[in-house]
Symmetry: C2
């Protein structure tokens, strides 16, 4: 399978949209919400949207489509597998710090945690992501994982990967929507669409567009890395390879 | 490709979860929100969540996985294609009536339309769905559609199909979340999780679970209907077939 112009169009588009998401959520929270701190104030809360969008959506999405880049197909899969796991770990750590930011802020202000549907979906998707990472690491990189287990795990890993992205988009959209109703409860109301609200709504649109492009890349069968090299089919898990 | 126990497990699970979503959203709006009317009151608004969840999520999801049922594989594809288009049309009509319910209610109460991120995502996904239905009908069922167009359209149709489901889930989650903050703005607050809020949060969880199972069915390559029959590969579009 040769690299196609359509793949690279989608890949570059996903990078541009991902960058636009990070810029947009950063500008929103630095310029309009007062910036950042780690002092349990509302400035600490501002890390929450920035870290969730950057970690759970953008880095996660880029990490997910990494294997699809045709430039990597002629090379050993192992370094790319390690890069995939590393990007996902950074994404997971950013997401967990993003959750800590909101928990600290809530606890300092005596605001209850984990009651809204947004928070239920958000905590569930982060937990699923953590499980996915641990099971992926154990199943695909550690030496005691038999081939039969990897064959069983792969479709579940791929399905959970797409589902986590879908749920993280739902969590982000509901979170931005909720935040804007809190911020613009009085004057000006959200319904007047002040510039900040337009920017945050646009962030939601960018997240959705990014997710659609990433899901397009993930779901296109002919863009999958062909498992034609012997080490890709019966590859040696990382620790075993390192020891040999 | 033979039918598998795992396919039927997922299919029955999707039917059960879809039914649970419809029951849950109906009980929420009939028992807790006062029931239904078409008089521009809040009782008219109550049609909105019921019709969007039933149409844009559940019927849509079931319509999307119809081709995957192995029982249909030995049969001519055309009746199933018509059933797919018919289910999607019912789903689209229910969604549009669901939008009319909220527009009428807003207009009667002088509440602005289409300012929140929830509404932006909701209107965008309904518009995409309408375009998808029209293009699908013209491309796959009408006689003037050449094979080359159908070959070009199919991957776009499949990708848009999954994306529409993803966006409809994001729209539902943000809508339920928003509604619960409106309903429980005073006593009891949403944060106390009164029984109605638990039920509506559970509805959100059911929608997410339904979406995940449907996306699992859609993304599993070996559960796709094999295009092995000549009429499936070079089939005659519906109107041409009727005229012959």
């Amino acid at each position: 399978m040769r690299p196609t112009v359509s793949f690279y169009t989608c890949f570059v588009l996903s990078l541009c949209l991902g960058l636009a998401c990070v810029v947009c959520v950063s500008v929103w929270n630095s310029h309009w919400r007062g910036g950042f701190a780690w002092d349990s104030s509302s400035l600490q809360f501002n890390w929450h949207p920035v870290l969730m969008v950057t970690g759970l959506v953008v880095l996660y999405g880029i990490g997910a489509v990494l294997y699809r880049v045709p430039l990597t197909w002629g090379q050993n899969k192992l370094p790319w597998k390690i890069l995939h796991a590393a990007l996902m770990l950074i994404s997971l750590v950013l997401s967990i710090i993003g959750l800590c930011a909101v928990f600290d802020f809530h606890n300092a202000k005596n605001i209850p945690n984990l009651y809204s549907l947004h928070s239920w979906i958000g905590i569930a998707v982060t937990a699923l992501f953590a499980i996915q990472w641990v099971v992926g690491m154990a199943g695909f990189l550690l030496p005691w994982s038999p081939t039969s287990l990897r064959v069983l795990l792969k479709p579940i890993h791929v399905w959970m990967g797409g589902s986590i992205l879908t749920l993280s988009i739902a969590a982000c959209i509901s979170g931005i929507n909720e935040k804007l109703f809190f911020v613009f409860s009085k004057n000006p109301p959200y319904s007047k669409l002040p510039p900040e609200a337009v920017l945050a709504n646009m962030l939601g649109v960018l997240i959705v567009a990014f997710g659609m492009v990433v899901l397009k890349i993930l779901s296109t069968h002919e863009w999958q890395r062909p498992d034609s090299r012997p080490e890709d089919i019966n590859y040696t898990p990382i620790l075993q390879e390192e020891n040999e």
